[in-house]
Symmetry: D4
Subunit: 236 residues, 8 copies
């Protein structure tokens, strides 16, 4: 990587090897493709990556947490990619695979948690699972979650996104046999500390069977749920 | 306060004015007596205080968080005082006043929270309220708390002691009209951080109407509950 | 909730069931109506909610922490709603109910705490209580709070909003028989840590009878105060 | 629960309803039995619980984090219970069920993590899964974990217990298709902060597919792993 | 410093140059002598230091935070040293110098803060100031501190030791012209966090003129007070 | 304070009693005037305050941390006030009093700490002390601070503003007899945590005689220094 | 430093002695030149410094973390200075010295860490070392770092910049004999806490030989690496 | 690893493969041997490891942080091992190798830091470097460290162990050309937070060239210093 080489001036799109070492065989090795985390990457870097995956329609590439500029750079190279602005997700190719394995039910405790819940749901769907979404069933009105118990008990895994007190995963895990993937969200203020209160509550859930991921990490929750709900190995 | 004065040698019990300025007229000013917090006080200091309140049977004096040595020093001066070793509470005079005002229901999320819940219940009782205790109704098995809904709805105020994820006050507050006094307990380990996880969850309770006190502060919860459930002013 | 359904294109206002599960019978169940927390909700989502409550003039709906865009969306559907820009509160219907129960006195330690204190005062008023407001009586000049002692002692409950060292609730609780609802505010800088210093001071108040709520949570403080000062059950 | 009732004097074993509300139908509701967390419970309370489950040999009861006194109290009532002193686990009845579902591989990054890893392994085994244990394969010597890749890739789920830098789950998750349950341990000193460093590293694992549980929570990790590796629903 | 040299066997008292570099000319350079902080030092190391200062009766040497073993080692070499077991302070020579400069008033908010307050008072006295001690005048009963206002206003500097909510320094600083040295103490529990709550309250005191020192640092507070109340330079 | 009263519409400048309770007799009580902290106050509120103090030229009023809008509002009412934009300080009347008492030397560890150091210096000057300023003498080049030793030793009190490692106050306190007021600044990044690193270093200064104030609190440091360097009481 | 002196009006460039005390002989004393940290300095202050070093082409001056305005001010005085906008570094004179000593290999775990890695690499180069850069070899795909083992083992010191879980330095240190300088970056979100997670992981690296610097401190890492890889003393 | 196998009963010393995977070829791979961290390991596990390395006298094995029981178990198997009780270090074989490379100077800021400093010094010595120790030269008396400047400037690397304010590494790094390895120690109390204050100060050292290791990590500091001071590669 020579400093200040004249090649830099020839093209706006940088040589990919200077900015990233794509792990394209991850799909073969792990059974799941690599995702591209957009924050901290320039539009030029994302464009270089988008071009590199354009012909690889056999595997799904997800671009996560894309802001408007990120999305524009990706869509410039992949105009037909699926783009969900709420969650900042782009998927290529745009059509998710035919679902296999068990059902993934994604629950958003409140309306403000929808952004994270949608990222989880779309990730699971593009990794090959059937998904359902349940909204605004926080513990302040228990009857709301109890009314959805049938759907929750049909799930192979339940993803619960909740901010503030983060109490919903404990309640849900106490009601179902399936594992619960808990995503703390940064929804709240003051002593919510950007999701720390919810994160700690989930790590200390008094019901066992709660798997915690990072604050606002809808992608990670969806990926984990897809792995848990994967078909038995002989079907892979 | 002269240093090394010969008077020090004459008596094991120190001059009270050197160690404490009792606020005996607090009962008149605030309607509630002062309590004596035992940790950090020597047996000699507690003995001096116990002697000082012995004749004041018109007001209740509570000694809180008394360890065995603290309790022995108090009981030496006040052998008939009520002593609850589980919660470390001593009360003088030993018989609580006749209850007035509304009902205080105290809920312990788990068996390990009993110690704190009992301190709250006894405090409220000695400050003049009728009390009831409900045990082990954590959110991991919702049917347990739902089964006690009738009692909970009869309360003028509900005290909820919970550790770990601290989720129970949110759930209870969503079910009753009365205010909920939430006491985080230090029950738990790891990311419970000695009660911080429960404290944060309670401060961020998604149901309004939750009043939070310090971790393990059963005395404060009981005192606050007694004030909330106090009879109307014209009866005081 | 079908992805990308054509119905999305027909109306700017989304189907409410996709974004929220209103708990409209909370007033019946708890005696107090649900509030709508605006941050994190889009103008479209708020408009859908505002339309849904328009005909329910029998119960009060509060929209809290509304920024200018939130307020515009609500006022578009409810042009006659009361709007207090300082505290970001909107109320529908605009006229508070006739006061019942005891008096709620709200104290702001400093001018900068007014925003939070007003949210508490308005919430208590719209939930049916008489309220009074006292401003700028911090502990650096004790004579200021002592001058208001008569008013403070007439309260059934005192709400104290304070930032920085959060010392005022301790001082007030030591002067009155009523419970004190302490609201830490994010006023301050440096080691105030956005309200943590005040929050910790309030949780460790050396006077008992202090109920703490989340940092800047004027709504929660007002709601709790309204419950504490509620008329005896037979009047509800 | 009458205070100071004479019944208290008649028996050392307290009335169970005063100290716990067992959730014995949890096995029916969730498919997994309740566990009894020993810390904070007295020997008398544990004895009461042990007596209560003695005849329920159709479901497995686990006592977790039992110290010597806890264990003695349980073994007094259940002398044939299985007792693993390293991890503080007791199981009743003593023989684990015949394994069903997929393989659970439990990895301990270092020798000091064995205590937690064994709790996870035994929990998964008593909840009905086949298990394997791999020891001392931390990232400071990568060849050690690479040498066990075949076993790791046969797992339906991998549990990784690691303290200090908590780096092993990231590395393992990058090598296998199965989900990884990461258990931070309190092994370390100084800026390990009792497991916080490992906890944060695991929550920020750069490989997706990592489910985090509480620090030192081997029981929770084993329970979650058993749920993930459960046989398809029609076999339950 | 040769490893394992035979000289080690000859004397229990180590060569001082191997364990400490005494700053004996600090008194000349700064006007105040060095103090010896005992924790983490062995009895042998303290004995070596005590022997080294025995003949230096022209300057005061303070040994701080001495536990029983530390004190015994020092008293073995300096049997006439003054020893205050409550605060763990030893002073050599035992008689404090004749007071000069202004008055130092030391205030303990509660009885449990006495230990720290005494360390401050004795330090100021041995560094040459006149001192007075006021006990148990916390803000929960304001009349107590207001009753001592005359004494407080005679001080050149006031030291205030307080734990829990740490509110007293703010109140005192608002009442006097002299600077206030605030010492947070570790008195309290739960969210007192070993003195952090008091420390933060003091750093955010809403009255200016508050100088904060480390938690439980009575020595530092007394030293600082002695410097502030020092006589004008021409008298030194 | 009637809600929505017509008087609100009559004047842009609010009734002062609705927004602040000025403590104008503080100068008489404490010997030092009140300062007005600008953040969180509206231009209208500041204008009301500025008008109220306009005729009080016998005492100094300081407006601290004034941004451009704050400053404009104050200068509109007090066009001749002194304004130091770097530190955000305004002073009325503009000419500081004739200095009395001892010398206050203010030290800025680095150029970036100048903003805070100037606030301290100006505050001390307007409270009646002579001041000197020393810049950019951090511990990375010890010769710089050693070169200013003569000036430092002439001070009655030294104020040291430092960010990053906050090491300079320890070094200065070890070189002079006067007390050192240490102001941590928020200069730095990463693990400087907005001044926490410097704050902790200063609280743990290994040289005694260090008085710590809040992060970036130049005003408080200057106020404290003015009190320490005040002339003997008989001259006040 | 006279206040408001007329000299201020004569020139936009301030007198350097009022804003900085340059440590120009640091190169002689330490063997390495001083760097100028730009944040918190005004364009005028930077211009004054740039002018002051213009003629000193015998030593290298680095300006670090320069934003666009900072860079413009420096380039105005030093138009031929080398400017790397990605890392915010400017160097004068522009050509780095001829390399001596050992090789410095700089590793960026991900593309987003490049900014910090480049700052480290350029610093080491301008301090006289040969450097190589390796990009995007995080532990989620171990084969990527293993493929560069030959280069890593040729280094006298390896700098590793990593955010999120900060696991890469542990892995690299376990593979090479050279010391590893670990730079945590603020890359990540949620429980990454702006680099704290990576910082803690690196401080707890289970492989010895890891030297940690501040979050995002590429300059410090490059400086340290240059010192470690310096030629033997007799060549200096 | 069969559960409860009869082999367990045959020997007190467990099969090593069940408890540890020794990395004996680390010396070949990295040039430095593996150390055995004793805490969390049983005496039996340590005995098994000691037996395993007994015949490997060609490489040095260090046992770190050994308490009395750990040491007894190791010395039972290796009676001639060197044992330094102060630092808890044991070394086998007992004689350190002949020194090569540059000089390592280890500095202890105070007497209480000696324990950590000795661990660093002995580790560097057993890894093959010449070492010197300097004691009690904290920044409160700068003349002490300045008096040792000649020795410090002869070092290839300086290790500085300091607690409390952690200021010494900054000062030393500003005086020498060699890199400084800074070890924060847990010496201190209150806001020292077990070494966090010193750790943060060192990470924010205003002099570049400071490499930080974990709190109390004398072993890691000595290891890192030995690597930095290693002879040029052709001599290894």
């Amino acid at each position: 990587m020579p400093e200040g080489s004249p090649a830099d001036a020839q093209a706006a799109v940088p040589d990919l090897s200077d900015v990233a070492t794509l792990d394209l065989d991850r799909a073969a090795r792990r059974g799941y493709p690599e995702a591209v985390y957009c924050p901290g990457k320039t539009a030029e870097q994302l464009a270089a990556i988008a071009v590199a995956v354009r012909e690889r329609t056999d595997i799904v590439t997800l671009f996560t947490r894309a802001g408007p500029d990120h999305a524009a750079a990706v869509l410039d190279a992949l105009p037909d990619a699926h783009h969900d602005p709420d969650s900042g997700l782009l998927a290529w190719p745009p059509v998710p695979p035919e679902p296999t394995g068990g059902l993934v039910v994604v629950v958003a405790a409140g309306t403000s948690d929808l952004r994270v819940a949608r990222e989880a749901m779309l990730t699971a769907r593009y990794l090959g699972r059937a998904t359902e979404l349940v909204v605004d069933v926080g513990v302040a009105g228990l009857h709301r979650v109890l009314a959805r118990l049938d759907l929750l008990r049909r799930a192979r895994v339940v993803v619960v996104a909740a901010g503030m007190d983060g109490a919903l995963p404990s309640v849900v895990a106490g009601l179902v046999a399936a594992p619960v993937v808990a995503v703390p969200t940064s929804v709240g203020y003051g002593a919510a500390f950007g999701g720390i209160a919810a994160l700690l509550a989930m790590l200390n859930a008094c019901a066992p069977g709660v798997a915690v991921v990072n604050i606002d990490n809808g992608y990670g929750a969806g990926h984990l749920a897809a792995q848990i709900a994967a078909p038995p190995p002989d079907h892979r």
